[in-house]
């Protein structure tokens, strides 16, 4: 909200300029991907910055992608993996965060630190060990393998963010629940979770995007035709010598849509949570 008494027009102008510049930089590659996905091959190379004209407009990329019967399957795989991972991350992350923030027990702070270390150490360092483990347990080329890895990857940040928020939930409220006879589970699910919903939405967004975009683990753990995700599936159009750019760009443009829908859903949760009104 701009306030004329506190913000001079010049300063406001600079702020907007910076924001606009950032937006432009962030959106430009997306814009480029989308416009080029609607052009024919020649136009992509001849004038990559031009929007599709009637003469250059072509849906050949989308036809190629959707013509590949497997592509719907790839989308489904991405969806299953992302949604299942988010659900597990939120559930277990929130539970651990509740325990860490609510109960005083020996080693509480140490445990919290141990959990937070996961944020600093990239899970990819353990790829070889993870692959060995998956081979041993026969989980290679299953979506379960991906879900397990992504859950492990997302939980540290979830615990870190959620435990901070849960410390902010009024003790009186939880105690009122205890006096009313709510079990600790009921307090967690019925009092605390609704109150930290904005934080849950934040965690969901932070967790979702790297999972959806990941190429590394699908390539290593689940490269089979049946378990390919969209990002991995798009790679079939990238060859060593020839790359079907129409198809790659179309696949990437399509891959933006589901994640956009999920984002809108979570963002609405975020706003609803903020306006719900807390204890006082």
């Amino acid at each position: 909200m701009s306030n004329r008494a506190r913000m001079s027009p010049v300063r406001t102008g600079f702020v907007h300029l910076a924001l606009a510049a950032y937006t432009l930089i962030a959106l430009f590659p997306v814009f480029l991907t989308v416009i080029n996905s609607f052009k024919d091959r020649n136009a992509i190379f001849r004038s990559p910055l031009q929007v599709p004209l009637p003469s250059t407009f072509s849906l050949i990329g989308y036809k190629t992608v959707l013509g590949q019967a497997d592509f719907l399957n790839y989308f489904q795989n991405s969806f299953v993996v992302t949604i299942a991972s988010i659900v597990l991350v939120l559930l277990f992350g929130a539970m651990a965060a509740f325990a860490l923030s609510e109960y005083r027990f020996r080693g509480n702070a140490l445990m919290g630190l141990y959990m937070a270390i996961g944020i600093m150490i990239p899970i990819r360092l353990g790829t070889v060990a993870i692959l060995q483990g998956m081979v041993e347990t026969g989980l290679v080329n299953t979506l379960t393998a991906l879900i397990l890895v992504y859950t492990a990857q997302g939980i540290p940040l979830a615990i870190f963010i959620l435990s901070e928020f849960m410390r902010g939930v009024s003790d009186d409220l939880k105690n009122a629940g205890r006096i009313d006879g709510l079990s600790e589970y009921a307090i967690f699910f019925r009092l605390v979770l609704p109150l930290v919903r904005p934080a849950m939405a934040t965690v969901a967004v932070f967790t979702m995007i790297p999972i959806w975009n990941d190429l590394w683990f699908p390539l290593i753990l689940a490269p089979s035709e049946a378990t390919k995700t969209v990002t991995l599936g798009s790679q079939i159009f990238i060859g060593q010598f020839v790359t079907n750019w129409n198809a790659v760009l179309a696949a990437l443009s399509l891959a933006i849509l589901p994640i956009l829908v999920l984002y809108v859903i979570f963002a609405r949760q975020l706003i609803r949570g903020i306006t719900a009104g807390a204890v006082k």
């Binding site: 105690n175 205890r178 006096i179 009313d180």
Partner: protein, 336 residues
């Protein structure tokens, strides 16, 4: 039904002892107030009674039954919190009904009890609203309603009025007093405000640094404070304390400090025991409060009833009413 016995309740957080052996007997239907400065352990004591905090040692009996290992919901208590602690996502009605639903009470019974409580607290127009749509006073009434529907043996109030503004505080105070008369329930109430304590309580428990300083009726505490702390804590403006060194006839009898309440000092422009100068005068209409600097006693507060025309720098003489002088020994205990 609704008596409470505490026996040598101790509570320590690590090495820090918050409650140092509290004994207390509360009879059925009594309105007992825990009062003391912040950090004296009064809220912790209330939480121990509620079962929200485990005592390190000691015994809590409600209606004669030991409850130290009973969860809060099964102790037959209800609690009203300073922050109201209403469930933000439930309507007023559901807020009040949750505890009963959880206990498996029949629907018709729940309806009847909620209706009765909301009638008592004039909450009927708000039953379908959520806490966020209510004012502070209304929220506190909902919190009280939530306690009433449980029909508890003990009502516990944790500084319920401190978040309300002054006018609302007086009004809610009257409502709580009325409620106590109507329900004839046992109530335990924590506050740091001695005015609340004096106006509501049948019995006041003055706590300081985790120990009971004195237990008694409001007038007992006012007229016969057991020690220096209670004398200073009860009464507003505060009791004047004068070291006996300045008053030889008291020092001879072994008195260390004397206390005299501001309202028990007479003032005159011509003659009197202690000559002094007015530093500041507060004209409140019903009262005039004067701060004097006297030669014998140092700073002295005097409370006169009605309007008086003293102003700063006036020379006056103060005379304490001998019958109301409190004597304290070297251990700060009252001397008879």
């Amino acid at each position: 039904m609704g008596s409470l016995q505490l026996k040598s309740i101790r509570k320590a957080f690590g090495d820090h002892e918050v409650l140092k052996g509290i004994d207390l007997e509360v009879k059925d239907g009594e309105f007992v107030i825990f009062v003391g400065p912040s950090g004296c352990g009064k809220s912790t004591l209330l939480r121990v009674i509620a079962g929200l905090e485990d005592a390190t040692s000691g015994s809590v009996r409600i209606d004669g039954a030991e409850v130290i290992n009973t969860p809060p919901a099964k102790r037959g208590i209800a609690m009203v919190f300073q922050s109201y602690a209403l469930y933000p996502h439930l309507t007023v009605k559901d807020n009040m009904a949750l505890g009963l639903k959880q206990a498996g009470t029949e629907k018709s019974e729940i309806e009847a009890r909620v209706a009765k409580a909301s009638g008592m607290l004039s909450l009927d127009p708000y039953l379908a609203r959520r806490p966020a749509e209510l004012s502070g006073g209304q929220r506190q009434r909902v919190a009280i309603g939530r306690a009433i529907v449980r029909e508890p043996k003990l009502f516990l109030f944790d500084e319920p009025l401190s978040n309300l503004d002054a006018a609302l505080r007086v009004q809610t105070r009257l409502e709580i007093a009325g409620l106590h008369r109507r329900l004839k329930a046992t109530m335990i109430y924590v506050t740091h405000d001695q005015v609340e304590a004096m106006t509501l309580a049948d019995k006041i428990v003055v706590l300081n640094a985790g120990a009971v300083e004195q237990i008694g009726s409001p007038m007992d505490l006012y007229n016969k404070p057991a020690n220096l702390f209670v004398g200073g804590f009860i009464g507003s403006p505060q009791m004047n304390f004068i070291t006996a060194e300045r008053l030889p006839d008291f020092a001879r009898t072994g008195v260390k400090t004397i206390g005299i309440r501001p309202e028990h000092i007479a003032l005159s422009r011509d003659t009197g025991e202690w000559k002094g100068k007015v530093i500041h005068a507060e004209h409140l209409g019903a009262d005039t409060i004067l701060y004097l600097e006297t030669e014998v006693t140092g700073l002295l507060t005097v409370r006169l009833f009605g309007e008086h025309r003293y102003v700063a720098d006036d020379i006056v003489f103060a005379t304490p009413d001998r019958a109301f002088i409190h004597r304290f020994d070297a251990n700060d205990q009252a001397m008879q």
